[in-house]
Symmetry: C2
Subunit: 590 residues, 2 copies
C-alpha cells in the first residue's frame, strides 16, 4: 500500500503521527520560504508543508511539482498555526520528510476545482479529468449510496435481483430498438432491451414473486435534452399483489432512500392523487407540489358573464393561479409572462391578469368585467391584497398544461422550488387509452398489458368509444418535485381481458399473436396476478442531488447527439468486421 | 395481497390459524374420498386437503384443477396425521374452506418437479417453466445472495460501484466485438464492451481509488461448451496498491462469500503458488487442489538409465502421479486410461504404469528397468503397496498438461472431486509474454497494461529474447476447484515502462498510438499506481452451487449457437429498420 491514510482523514488527534499519503497535487504555493502543497484524493485535501529546514532532496523534488502530479509523501502530522475551517483536515498539516513523484502530469485542459473553467464539451472530452472534481465525485458517490440502499431495502423485503439478457429480440411496438447483427446467424439481429418488461413478466410466470434489477436499458430515440441512449432503471415486479401492495412496498423503498441517503424522515403517507385531479389542480401528470398555487377553474364564473368577452365566452376552459405578493409586477414583467405563455412550447394565445394592489383591483379585462365581478373572482380563489392572478383560457387539456407551465415558472420566480426540499407523491388512475384522431384508433397509454381499474370492467367491456375513453388504468406514477421518477401498473393476467384489450386497440387476433404471441403463450401455463414498477435511476439520483440534469450523475455520459466524445464513439468499423457480420453500409448520397 | 402466507412458511405452531395461500397446483390426488392438493410457490409446497365435509362449491372447483393452475385458497392450518419429514411444511396441512382459480394452465410440456422429464432444448424453449423447478429456483436465489454479499462486502471496504457505458467504441485487440449500428451517425457503430477494462483504468486516473461493478460483458466468440456470448463479471480496480493489497482485499471478499453464502469458514490464508510451481506439480495454471496427487518428475531418474528405453531417453520430461490404492486396476482399466491420455484433447503418446501390488512391483517397462530401479522410483515418490504409478513422457509443457488432465481424471475416478468441498488458491507470477513461433513475436499473456514483477525490471529492459521469455508478470488468478474464477494484475502506470512494453510487443509508436492512444493520453494527466481483478460471476455462482455448467445459474441463457430459443432470437429485422440504420444485408450465397 502506498499510503497509511487518505487525504481526507487526518485530524487534530492524529498530531505527531508519522504518516504516508498519496494523491494528486491540487496546488503548490510558496510564501516566505515555506512551500504549501495541497494534496488531493477523493476523500479530501491535506496540506503538506516544506520549509527551509526540510531536506534538500525534498526541496528539490518539490521544486519540480506541477498541478495534478501524482506523489507519495511521508511526514509528521502537525497542528496548523493558521487553521482552515472550510475543510475537515483544516486543523492539521504534514511536515514533509520525504516525497516521491509517482507520476508526472501534463497541465490539464481546465481547472480541477469545485468550479471548473472548462466548457461543457471540453469537460466531456476529458471526462476522466472532470470526474476528479469534487462535485462530480459527490454525485458518483451519491449514486453508489443510492444503489446500495435500493438493494439492501429490496433484499430485506424478500426481493430477488435477477439478471435478464441484453441480447434479445427486436419488437416492433414502442420506441426504436438498438440492434446487434449476429455473426453466427447471418442476416439476423439481436436487439438491446428498452426495458426488461417481458422478462420480468415471465419471471412472474416462473414464480419469482418479488423481482428487481438495477439494469441498463437502451432506446434509439432522437435525443431530447437530458435524454441518454442508454439509461439505468430500477426494475421491479411482484406477484399476488394489488395496487395498494405495490404502492406500499415502493413507498417504503422511497422513504428508506430519503432516510438512508439524505437523512430525511417522511412519517406521513405520500399523497395520492388521480390523474384527473393532477390535471385540474396543477395542469400536469407530474405535479411539483413543493408549493401550492393550485388552479382555480373560472369557466362557470366568467363564461357568458361580463360584457361579451369573446375570449372567455368561446372557450371550453378558463383557469387561474394566484401568485402571492406579485401585485406590484411591472408592465414589463407582465409582458414577459405573456411572451412566456405564448411561446410555442407553452402554446397559450394570451395571458389575462388581475392584480390586487393597495390601490384596489386592476386587470387586463377591466373593460369586460365590473370591479365587483373581478373582486368576486379574486376573493373566490383566496387571493389577498398584494396578489396577482394569472388566467389562461382555451381547450381544457392544452390550457391546463399551459397554466401548469406558467405555475412552475412562477414557482421558480418566487423561489418556491427549493432543491433541498422534496415533495413526493403518487399519481394514479391514468386513462387506460388515448384516442388518436389521425389514425382513428385507441392506443394504450402505458402498454397493452396494463389492466383497467377493477371498478372499470363494465366500461372496459362496453365497446362504446365514449365509455372506453373514460376507463382508468390500474397504473401509477411516482413523482418527486415535478419529475416522474417511476411508473408502473397492475398487469392483465386474465386471457379474456387481454383479448378485449387487443380488440379495443384494434389488433386482429393474428396481429396480436404476431406481436405478443410469445408472452401470450407463456401466460397460458399459469400466470399469477402481478404488477410492478420501474424507476429512472439516473433521474432519481439527480433529484436527490438537487440537480436538473442527469448527465453529471452518470460517470461516462453521451452528448445530445448520442456521441461519446471522450471515446470518439460511435466510429467506423473495419471492412473485415462488416464482412463477418454479413452486412454492408448503405449510405445515402448527400 | 392475495395471500397471508407463502407456501413455505406454515409450521406446527401455526395450527388453527385461518390463512390464505396462493400458488401453483403441483399435483392433485384423491384417496378414499379425500383430495390432497400440493400448492407450490418459490418458498415451498403446502398440502391442501378437501374431504367429504368440504363445501360443495369447494369440491366442484377442486374437480376442475389441473397441474400448474394458479389458485387462491382459504382454510385452517391443521396438524397432519401422516407427516412428511422431507419438507419443512410437512407437519401441517390446510383444511380448505374456500378456493378460487386465478388462472388456468395448459398442461406443461414437461414435468415441473425436482427432476424434469424434459430434454435440454425443450426446457430452454420453455425456460419460464423450467425456472419453476426447485433446483433452478435454488440457483437463482444463490446468485442473488452472492450478488448482495459481493456488494455488501465491497461497500464495507470503501469500494464504489460505478456504472460504465455499454455503447462504447470497437477496439481491434482482443476477442471479437458485438457492434451496434448508429442510426444518428450513419456508417458508424458502437461496440458492446468485452469488459470495462479501459473505463476502470480511467476511473483510477479520475481518483476513484476503489471501484467495482457487477456488469454484463459481451464477446462474439465461437462458442465453446459452457460459454455464453453475454456473461457477468465482478469487475474491480484499486489505486495506490501493490499485489499484496489486491490479493488480501479479494481474499477477504472470497472468505466473506464462503461464509455468508455457504457458511464455510476459511481461517488460513489461501495458498499462493507460482505458475511454474502449478505447472510442475499439477500440470495446470488452475490446479484443482481438493486432492494432492502431485507430480513427481522422473526425468533425471530414468533418462539414460535402465536398458535403452528410447521413449524416456529421447524426451525432455518424464513425470508421474501416484494413484493411491489402484494397484489392482485390471488390464482393461489400464487400457482405458491409455486410450484416455491418447485422445487428441489430451495428446500423450502413451501411458507407462508401475503397479505395486501384494505380489510386488510390476510395470509396463519391466523390460527396460530392473525391479530395484522401479522400486526406487516408487519409493522415491512416496508410493506404498497397493498404489498405481502412472507415467507420461514428452515435451515438458505438453506432457505436464496431459499429466494434469490424467490427474483430474484419476481424481474423479477416486471420488476426490467432492463438489461440496472447496479448495481456493492464488496462482501468481505468470509469464508476462508468450512467444509465438508463427509470427515470431511476443504477445502479452494478459494485456499490454500488465506490469512485470518489480524484481524483473532488469530482464524486462534487457531486450534479449531469452531474458524476455523469463519475465514474470505482476498478475494473479483466483482458482477454486480447478476453475479460474478471477484474474487480474498490477497495471503499468509509468510511461517509460509502457513504451518498453509496446516495443517488446513489436508495436511501433504509431501503432501503439492508433490502438491505445486514448488511454495513453489519459495517463499523461497523472495516473496513480493501480491494479485490479475481474471475477467470472456466472462461474463463481456455479462453483458455489456445486455445478459444472454455468447455464443453470443464468436465468435466461443462450444455447451453444448463441441463440435464445425461448425468444427465437436473433431474428431478421424489418427492411425499414435496416434502412434507418444505413446498412443492408450482404448474405453469402450458399
Amino acid at each position: 500500500m502506498y499510503r497509511t491514510h487518505t487525504c481526507g482523514e487526518l485530524r487534530l488527534n492524529d498530531v505527531s503521527k508519522e504518516v504516508t499519503l498519496a494523491g494528486w497535487v491540487q496546488r503548490v504555493h510558496s510564501k516566505g520560504g515555506v512551500t504549501f502543497i495541497g494534496l488531493r484524493d477523493r476523500y479530501g485535501i491535506t496540506q503538506l508543508i516544506v520549509d527551509n529546514n526540510s531536506a534538500d532532496t525534498v526541496k528539490e523534488i518539490v521544486g519540480k511539482l506541477g498541478r495534478e502530479f501524482v506523489i507519495q509523501t511521508q511526514g509528521k502530522v502537525v497542528e496548523r498555526s493558521a487553521k482552515n475551517p472550510k475543510i475537515p483536515t483544516g486543523d492539521i498539516e504534514i511536515a514533509v520528510t520525504a516525497i516521491k513523484i509517482l507520476n508526472q502530469a501534463e497541465t490539464p485542459p481546465f481547472t480541477i476545482e469545485e468550479e471548473s473553467d472548462g466548457g461543457d464539451e471540453l469537460r466531456l472530452k476529458y471526462r476522466y479529468l472532470d470526474l476528479r472534481r469534487p462535485p462530480l465525485q459527490h454525485n458518483i458517490m451519491l449514486r453508489h449510496r443510492m444503489a446500495q440502499s435500493v438493494r439492501s431495502y429490496l433484499d430485506s423485503q424478500g426481493f430477488l435481483e435477477i439478471e435478464t439478457p441484453f441480447l434479445i429480440r427486436s419488437t416492433p411496438e414502442g420506441a426504436r430498438d438498438f440492434v446487434v447483427p449476429s455473426r453466427m446467424n447471418a442476416g439476423e439481429f439481436y436487439a438491446l432491451p428498452q426495458s426488461p418488461q417481458t422478462f420480468k413478466q415471465l419471471l412472474m410466470v416462473s414464480g419469482y414473486d418479488k423481482y428487481f434489477q438495477i439494469v441498463r436499458c437502451f432506446r434509439d430515440e432522437d435525443l431530447r435534452a437530458d435524454r441518454q441512449p442508454e439509461f439505468t432503471q430500477i426494475d421491479c415486479e411482484m406477484s399476488f399483489v394489488e395496487r395498494e401492495d405495490v404502492l406500499n412496498t415502493f413507498e417504503g423503498l422511497a422513504k428508506y432512500l430519503f432516510k438512508s441517503v439524505l437523512n430525511l424522515e417522511f412519517s406521513d403517507k405520500f399523497p395520492r392523487i388521480s390523474y384527473a385531479e393532477a390535471m385540474n389542480k396543477y395542469g400536469s401528470d407530474k405535479p411539483d407540489i413543493r408549493f401550492g398555487m393550485e388552479f382555480h377553474e373560472l369557466t362557470d364564473k366568467v363564461k357568458g358573464k361580463g360584457k361579451n368577452f369573446v375570449v372567455f365566452d368561446s372557450v371550453e376552459y378558463v383557469g387561474s393561479i394566484c401568485a402571492k405578493g406579485c401585485a406590484e409586477y411591472t408592465r414589463k414583467q407582465l409582458d414577459a409572462l405573456t411572451d412566456f405563455v405564448k411561446r410555442p412550447q407553452v402554446g397559450a394565445k394570451g395571458l389575462v391578469y388581475i392584480r390586487w394592489s393597495a390601490e384596489g383591483i386592476k386587470s387586463s379585462i377591466d373593460k369586460f368585467y365590473t370591479p365587483d365581478e373581478l373582486q368576486a373572482i379574486a376573493t373566490g380563489m383566496g387571493a389577498k391584497q398584494g396578489d396577482l392572478i394569472l388566467i389562461l383560457a382555451g381547450d381544457r387539456k392544452k390550457t391546463q398544461e399551459a397554466l401548469g407551465t406558467l405555475r412552475l415558472e412562477m414557482g421558480v420566480r418566487l423561489g418556491l422550488c427549493d432543491n433541498t426540499k422534496f415533495a413526493p407523491l403518487w399519481v394514479v388512475d391514468f386513462p387506460l387509452f388515448e384516442w388518436d384522431e389521425e389514425t382513428q384508433r385507441f392506443y394504450a397509454t402505458h402498454h397493452p398489458f396494463t389492466s383497467p381499474n377493477p371498478d372499470q370492467l363494465d366500461l372496459f367491456n362496453s365497446n362504446k368509444k365514449e365509455d372506453i375513453q373514460q376507463v382508468t388504468a390500474n397504473a401509477y406514477d411516482f413523482v418527486v418535485n415535478g419529475s416522474e421518477i417511476g411508473g408502473g401498473s397492475i398487469r392483465i393476467f386474465d386471457s379474456n381481458m387481454q383479448k378485449q384489450m387487443f380488440k379495443l386497440l384494434g389488433f386482429t387476433q393474428e396481429e396480436a399473436e404476431a406481436q405478443f404471441g410469445f408472452i401470450i403463450n407463456a401466460f397460458k401455463y399459469g400466470a399469477p396476478p402481478h404488477g410492478g414498477i420501474a424507476f429512472g435511476f439516473d433521474r432519481w439520483c439527480a433529484i436527490f442531488g438537487g440537480a436538473d440534469s442527469i448527465r453529471d450523475y452518470i460517470a461516462f455520459p453521451k452528448n445530445n447527439s448520442g456521441r461519446d466524445t471522450m471515446l470518439d464513439s460511435p466510429a467506423p468499423i473495419a471492412q473485415a468486421q462488416l464482412d463477418e457480420l454479413n452486412i454492408r453500409l448503405n449510405l445515402k448520397k448527400e
